[in-house]
Subunit: 394 residues, 2 copies
């Protein structure tokens, strides 16, 4: 008796859910320590100590009724001002509190934006491979997600597929860099190409096409700065989550950020404010909002992720696998050793390696390795990867 459209979507996503179930099953048989589970995207690095310390200080010093009370739908003004200040200092932007909306994480922010911008059948373009839930977010309000496949050798946006994906009904382009599932950081060159096309298309269609930058992994970039997208395109809406930077994904806290130049900014702000209510969010969790006043520039120790990445990337390259060097997030995209990436993942299970097939991310022929695992697990997995490789050399 559930909705037909949901039933359809559930049936399609069974293969993805199966990956997680399989992990649990294998761990139960062989013991968790004997399984190389690279399917899970859970942060594995401790939250910075200031996170808990701040929460306790707030609980000790602030008046409980007001601390836990409703905030404005868009969040506490002082928290929004604090984030605007931080972004302005860090990325040379000019946000103010009237352009910041506190949300229950980045996923919530994207759904709020979909609800605000999309009428029935309106389109959102995203670069594939992409995080699989994007499709569900867009479809939750009867929009349509149109993928633009990246160049599958470089995992960078491709001008041909991108331009072909745009249409009169494109309301926004959803971009995710550092990328889940590929770990790619889109280069300045890629961003210039994307935004040049967008500017041209805005003119052609006579209405804004927003660029929504979903960047929960911004702080997880190694040996490089991730270009800040407002510097490339005026109509950029930034979506951020503290899930990865502070290792607090269960607490659900993030924001939407718009500079004053964003077209129809006041309308968007009013629409997003209403969408916070209409979708049942009401406001982002209040204690977590206040925590940010003290933790806005804190970060987990990203060297730990980097170490694991280096072990895996070097190890896999040495064995003979084709990987794109992942500059950010905690994902490594690797070419499957046969065309059918799902079958390749099945074969890998025989070596007790669990990976997500690229097809699940609209990235066929590849697999995603989530390396938010202890460095030691990564190290120990290499002989198993070697045996998997050998299976294909017969």
């Amino acid at each position: 008796m559930i909705a037909k459209r949901l039933r359809q979507s559930l049936d399609q996503s069974i293969c993805i859910r199966d990956i997680f179930e399989e992990g649990k099953k294998l761990a139960a048989i062989y013991g968790k320590e004997n399984i190389f589970n690279f399917t899970i995207g859970n942060p594995s690095v401790e939250p910075p100590a200031i996170v808990n310390a701040s929460m306790k200080e707030i609980l000790d010093t602030e008046e409980a009724l007001s601390l836990h009370g409703y905030t404005a739908n868009v969040g506490y003004p002082e928290v929004r001002a604090c984030i605007a200040d931080y972004l302005n200092r860090k990325y040379d932007c000019h946000y103010d509190e009237n352009g910041i909306i506190m949300t229950s994480g980045a996923a919530a922010a994207i759904v709020v934006i979909c609800h605000t911008l999309l009428d029935y059948g309106d389109e959102v373009v995203t670069f594939a491979p992409y995080f699989w839930e994007y499709k569900s977010y867009v479809e939750s309000v009867y929009g349509k997600l149109v993928p633009a496949l990246c160049n599958m050798e470089t995992l960078q946006p491709d001008p041909g597929t991108f331009e072909a994906a745009l249409s009169e009904r494109t309301r926004f382009v959803l971009i995710n860099t550092p990328n889940n599932p590929t770990g790619a950081v889109y280069t300045e060159e890629s961003l210039r190409m994307v935004t040049d096309i967008l500017r041209r298309k805005q003119e052609e269609y006579g209405h804004p096409i927003y660029l929504v930058s979903d960047e929960p992994y911004r702080k997880l970039a190694y040996d490089m700065e991730v270009p800040y997208l407002t510097h490339f395109y005026e109509n950029t809406i930034v979506v951020y989550s503290y899930s990865k930077a502070l290792s607090i994904p269960g607490e659900r806290i993030g924001y939407i950020a718009m500079e004053p130049e964003v077209q129809d900014m006041e309308d968007l702000f009013a629409g997003m404010t209403a969408s916070m209510r209409y979708l049942g969010y009401v406001n982002a969790p209040s204690l977590q909002q206040r925590m940010l006043l003290k933790c806005v520039d804190a970060s987990v120790d990203t060297r730990i992720y980097k170490e694991t990445r280096d072990i895996l990337y070097q190890g896999l390259q040495e064995i003979g696998y084709t990987c794109i060097h992942p500059d950010g997030a905690f994902y490594l995209f690797m070419k499957a050793l046969e065309e059918d990436d799902s079958r390749f993942c099945e074969t890998a299970k025989k070596e007790r390696i669990l990976m997500a097939p690229g097809t699940a991310f609209y990235g066929p022929g590849w697999v995603r390795i989530s390396y938010c695992v202890p460095a030691d697990t990564a190290r120990k997995s290499l002989p198993a990867f070697q045996r998997l490789y050998d299976r294909y050399q017969k």
Copy 2:
């Protein structure tokens, strides 16, 4: 450039938002203490001390990475089991953890249910007067809210309007007792009438019609127990929020509860689990979930609300106003002294009394008085209500 359907809805709701803006404006002119603002539904009673104490204990004793990590989309199994146990003890039910889904409050829960049950154009019936956001929740996924006006003398459900509101496309009935905006607690007699009709209609249409009971005010009932709806109807889905019982509306924590008898229960559970992701909720805030392990049976001191209710109810009756005795929540519904309730609210502002017009809740001819204000404010407002009454006696 925001979605057309959102634009339409924003334009319609301007009158409601104006109430809140007006309150701020008047407070700025005359001073907050000289305004009798009865428009706001914010809890005004301190959270029980155990709420903060529990959070601090959890922060001190639990491992931070796991504490703040993703939980299952439906929440921690032990928290769900704890809530099932509590409900079974308290209301003589037979929930188990597989029927409990932790949500970011009751609003989130309702949207999750809408997303799970409604295809385009499917209908939800609710008893009017109703909490105004219901319409937006249902429309966020392109459903249609059909109001069934209560008997406006008793504020209890009316069999005639209810039966007329049901159709082949009714997927669920949304019931809210104790009620916002009326403060009415629906009687056992009313519930039997409603569920008898529902059973008959289920049979006639050959598919389940769920009864979704939105009960954030369950613990705010005075001198009475609010009947528990599963005892009246098998296909009942209970939606709860701790916002009012613990005075923590900003933290966004609540649940959906289904007994094993609910038809297609496993499907519903799977659908709601997916909807938690598809709508961007992912999981209810993790620290707040764990807090409930220690606070599941805590409650604010409801005597404070009751005292204020008694002052207002008696005072207004003595002046000559017509009010229905409010048995729960912190709302009092009062008949306007003229047909046009919005104009009546305008006149009341001349006495510095702010109330919400019943029309905003689909309850024309009445006004809502939110009495989550200090008892002293209620007491001091009575001479102003007297002057307002006198204006209409000329």
